[in-house]
Symmetry: C2
Subunit: 367 residues, 2 copies
Amino acid sequence: MKIVCNRTDLVSGVSIVSKAVSNKTTLPILECILIEASAGTITLTANDMELGIETNIEGNILEQGKIALDAKLFFEIVRKLPDNDVTIETDSDYKATITCEKACFHIVGQEGSEFPYLPEIEKEKSITLSQFTLKEVIRQTIFSISDNENNKLMTGELFEVEDNKLNVVSLDGHRISIRNIELKESFDSFKVVVPGKTLQEITKIISGDAEKDVIIYVTNKHILFEFDQTRVVSRLLEGEYYKISQMLSSDYETKITINKKEFLDCIDRASLLIRESDKKPIVINITDNSLELNISSFFGSMEENILIQKEGRDILIGFNPKFLMDVLRVIDDEEINIYLVNPKAPCFIKDSSESYIYLILPVNFNH
Amino acid sequence: MKIVCNRTDLVSGVSIVSKAVSNKTTLPILECILIEASAGTITLTANDMELGIETNIEGNILEQGKIALDAKLFFEIVRKLPDNDVTIETDSDYKATITCEKACFHIVGQEGSEFPYLPEIEKEKSITLSQFTLKEVIRQTIFSISDNENNKLMTGELFEVEDNKLNVVSLDGHRISIRNIELKESFDSFKVVVPGKTLQEITKIISGDAEKDVIIYVTNKHILFEFDQTRVVSRLLEGEYYKISQMLSSDYETKITINKKEFLDCIDRASLLIRESDKKPIVINITDNSLELNISSFFGSMEENILIQKEGRDILIGFNPKFLMDVLRVIDDEEINIYLVNPKAPCFIKDSSESYIYLILPVNFNH
């Protein structure tokens, strides 16, 4: 194989596929990036057997072929090369020579044909949405997946399509995050659970450009994201996702409207007095036009008042401050509505059109 | 005590003195910041018994007094307060109430009079230089102190003054860094060894402004840096510093002039193929108008040529790449001169006026 490509293109391509390089594996080839030059296309591929990414880069192919190179070393080398044309040439012993201006590296690779190809995905069911929307949806839900591998399904997110609606859900047993998106057209229905890791890596790669699309294809076992010059394939999580409809209710006893930033800053200050391990709740006392927040711990105590609009009954309720902050940080609205029933029942933070719904369970507290 | 001051002033003051808060101590009071309001001045002090910092901040004193507050918690609280006036009030049980807008914190402090005051420094011997110069001098020498506590003097830097010359030296047994500064006027001679940690903290605090001065006072035991509203007092390291004059020589067999950035980038690339633990040298082959760098390791090999100007003999010599990079990173000149004698003798990197001199010992290598 002999190819010439621009260092900037190479760096951005390697940076994209690197997200799927395995870092704990017994198969050394999975620590590599496959470079393949054939039929006018240079393709970079990485695959940790759960998640696979391939991307095409610009360049001249002087001799077709393929080689698998250690991902970390190869990435470091191309990043540190001068910003100019890079030539990659391999010999029959899988030795690669990487030349750029007067710098010349020799590293030993592995046979390209040993590299596991990405699974072929049947392109039957798909949806199209903008990179911006996908990135937002992930950001606004990913924080409430669980990292407990015993509840495998909780480590992923539900992507459910019906007609022109996309419904994305994550939950961890203490809270539920829901985003409802209206798609530009109707698509065939599907319901899949995508691993959280896949979504975290996808958001790092997609640009967040509202003008650029992502096409998402699903099969029984896999999901494929196609955008720009890149394809990301991931296994799906298997099993029936939690039925959340019976947990959602629009009944409430108290509804408040509060300035999001004021509320977030106030909880942020209060949580200074708590160490994660304490599990100390913050206590919120809602009366007419006033929300009073109280916290008392080994380190000291704090109280603060915020002006609110209130409908319905007064209520005194405790929360894990982190759960409230996680939600407040991802909502873009300046004013938000919070719906409460009683100190044992979940509270809801949602907008009037229910484009987002966040459910948070309260915490017991001592008066 | 009751004081009112602006949150921004408070944050910047606490941030400055926090650099002297002890984080491993058996004396809990050393984990505190002393706030003292008396005679029209609000002073913040921290002191880990090696290094002490005090700074004055603006504010209104409604009631004189003092209190010691846990530095970490107090800093976190003031950082997260709204940007407005902050009132700090203490009661007879050393409980402090910190109020800002509607937020109100209560934390328990300690008796201010138990806090160890900074030593009084006799202001007999001093020099004055700009904050910019002091910051530069430290940046350009601090990397070659030793972190080995067995050679206590090597963990500090020599500050030697004679007439209008300031000479700053650091060394770690493999290399020496020297900066020679011409002061604006002549001062009484002195020769002290300042702990590296003190210098590292000082550079974080001083602004680097060429228009602002630092006055440095020395006694037998202490050094005091005075600038802006701040005083930093540190113990000195005791003992006779290494005599370096006999290690410096202006004889050479080979002199080269090389582009600093090209040389640095080239070594940076080459060092990709080395892990710190390897202790692999880079090998430099200097011939007429050409410097060829070679490295070969378990990971691969690399070679690169750089155009140079050369006087004198050809030479083949090995170096620890980190030592060369540390020096090249802090020199501002675009073109640098390197002086070599033979593959066993130290090389010198210095400018013609010797405002900087860097000595680096070479490393043995196998052909």
